[in-house]
């Protein structure tokens, strides 16, 4: 099961932008798209570990700031032809508040 943590308000994250949540397992990047969808991925690019939270959000995708890999926010998968995946975390928006789900197994897997 997930351990749900309240992490802030929807408007704390700029549209087409991102914020970071520090967790015991490392940074988790929270993204907000133009249509106000919220996604969470581990803040490490599958390519060379670039901080995804510092990239450019477009559509439901994020471009890594270091070498321009593009990842799907929904799945964490790199867009072809690149291959790789960033760990996903569940997020919920309730009454304008953001909740991040951390699962011990998932997040431990994320550190290793």
């Amino acid at each position: 099961m997930y351990d749900w943590h309240e992490i802030g308000a929807l408007d704390d994250v700029p549209r087409l932008g991102s914020r970071v949540v520090h967790t015991p397992h490392g940074g988790v990047a929270i993204f907000r798209t133009a249509d106000d969808r919220i996604f969470a991925l581990r803040d490490r690019c599958p390519h060379k570990g670039g901080p995804l939270s510092q990239g450019i959000v477009h559509g439901h995708r994020i471009t890594c700031p270091l070498h321009n890999w593009v990842l799907e926010l929904e799945s964490g998968q790199a867009v072809a032809p690149d291959v790789g995946c960033a760990t996903r975390y569940p997020v919920r928006v309730e009454n304008g508040r953001l909740w991040l789900g951390l699962n011990d197994v998932v997040s431990l897997a994320a550190v290793t």
Binding site: H5, I7, P14, V20, H22, G27, I30
Partner: protein, 812 residues
Amino acid sequence: MKERLILVGNGMAGMRTLEELLAIAPDQYDITVFGAEPHGNYNRILLSPVLAGEKTVEQIMLNDLDWYAERGITLHAGKAVIRLNRARRQVIAADGTVAPYDWLLLATGSDPIILPVPGNDLPGVITFRDIKDVQAMLDAACAGRKHAVVIGGGLLGLEAANGLMKQGMEVTVVHLLDVLMERQLDTEAAALLRTSLEERGLRFLMGAQTVAILGEERVKGVRFKDGLEIPADLVVMAVGIRPNIQLAKAAGIHCERGVVVNDTMQTYDPRIYAVGECVQHRGQTYGLVAPLWEQARVCANHLAHFGISRYRGSVTSTKLKVTGIDVFSAGEFGGGPGCDEIVLRDRARGVYKKLVVRDNRVRGAVLYGDTIDGSWYFQLLREKTDIGAFRESILFGQAHLGDAGHGGGNNVLAMPDEAEICGCNGVCKGVIVKAITAQKLFTLEEVRAHTKASASCGSCTGLVEQLLAATVGDYSKTSREKPLCACTEHSHDQVRKVIREQHLTSLRAVFDFMEWKTPDGCHSCRPAINFYLIAAWPGEARDDAQSRFINERVHANIQKDGTYSVVPRMWGGLTSPKELRAIADVADKFQIPTVKVTGGQRIDLLGVKKEDLPKVWADLNAAGMVSGHAYGKSLRTVKTCVGSEWCRFGTQDSTGLGVKLEKMTWGSWTPHKFKMAVSGCPRNCAEATIKDFGVVCVDSGYELHVGGNGGIKLRGTDLLCKVATEEEAMEYCGAFMQLYREEARYLERTAPWLERVGLAYVRQRIVEDGEGRKALHQRFLASQQYAQIDPWAERASGRVDAHEFQPLRRVG
């Protein structure tokens, strides 16, 4: 139920359209394909190498039967469609098969023209269009038939003749005119071509008009107008092609030379689209594959109901595919009024090159014997580049230009597979070739996406294009202005123009007005448009932080470990004990691991944690220092030497002028980074002649130099002019920067920009047009009002973008 799409014509254009369609809308249609030929789809242009014995039929298959099965596409191979019933939306095939459609795509290609002479239907008289024809030629050669006559000395005829000769036949090429390949070559290149083909064993009959094919059971010979008769066991007619429009015409769809389509590839029947050689678009028909690729992309877009892309026609170039003979041709190679010809002849090496030039732009090219620079000339042609600066050496090729960056001279074909082509991404030749063949790549963009070759600095683009051309064996390429990115069909210049003319001031407005294909752009177009907006409408367009690269969003340089570097501004490279103390204190206080002097005479603090940035800036601000913009597409630094104040050689106060220039220009955003320097005398200690704008002081005033840079492609500056006073130097500098800001494309440095538009143009705007210069300078100063706000102070205050520097939350 899904809508039904039927493709008539299982050839290159039609299938390419389906592939494009499946890529963007995989599940939209139930697809059925009718093809008159009993095969899957193959690469027709490689029939020539098959005939010459250099490739096999299996090697040229593009989509085998499994390909259709795997995608659930019904293929009727070997069934020609003989009738369309538009009222009932049905196609009817020769064997009686009837299939209903909701949407129909016609891609019936062309038919070879058969000369209307007696005997043209005798066995042994064939054309050169499909596998069956090649098979007939190979059979004839195998059966020991001796004499082949090829009628037609164009591309196709010569490729057929060469193949038949390789198969051991004695071949005569018959041509109506005196010049071979007259649609592509001038007299001189054609003569060279003829000589070298004759050396290989081909015979030519020029100026010969065929009046009859002789024989009873089978072809025996050919008779010409002057009465001459020659023996023939095989006659290949390669006198041209005619768009195959019978089907459409019989169904009452409007046709002229081809099936007439609009810019969306739609015929006069809105349910019916058409692509390929059978269409006529804006009065033009095409006989090469490159335009078909563009048509296919546009058509797929509309079949997928995206409805946003348009085909605007293509410019093409051609190459002959006869191994060992290099011929290239493009544009108006014949010249005309007002044209100059630049010609190089080297009989001994068998090389002939001719460029047709008007107003310092390449209009056409014919190359024989050495075609390595064909793609470069073609690029100059379609981008209408001003060649004034290198006109005298242009025929020596791109490798000869000091700053070209890649040696076009080292023929890629001769390179070993391990040879590195793309230095940026470490991609070697073998990998690229493999990707092209295995993944069936046809365009530069595709190679970039799959291999990353040429995806970074682009200096290997020429090499990759050559590899592509060599590997797919294609003699054609097309052109159009490159779209800004995959989100749009529009080019940089079109976007800029619309922003200015329509007074667009936000990204949203641009996306909407120009019908962007993606909801909010991508990492390529957003930063570019953001720049165009703030450059066009200073103070009015809002700078959109989310459309800035991270460095410009947080005003520091991201490093590979996710920390940042901080470079405070030091005007003209001058500093003081107070500033140095403050820098030392900051380094101590925030435990900054590395302090380095940069090449631009500044001090770089490397390894600052993101959260610390505002505090570091606050401390630096307190000592009077502001952002050095070492992170931006903006004015970087003005490097100076000590000049007349201290140096025994100094002629002017170079340091003082450097400080003034930096105070005037700091904070301004430019298409790419912009570096300056001022040297106090021609010894040039500040290296002003490799800067975007450099000043070299002399006794009588100031030499202004522009368009230099270090880096991958080193380029020395061009001298713009000499001025007498500091005030003039400042005005010219502001005007030059503003012209660059207003007219260069995003991420184009001054060096390539200058080469594209020409030094003469910049001189005209900055030096000769005094009013214009003043206006440019005024516009520059006006936009600086909004730019010269220290971004560090704003952020150190905590009032701007605070969210950028704080984690949202810490949990656990």
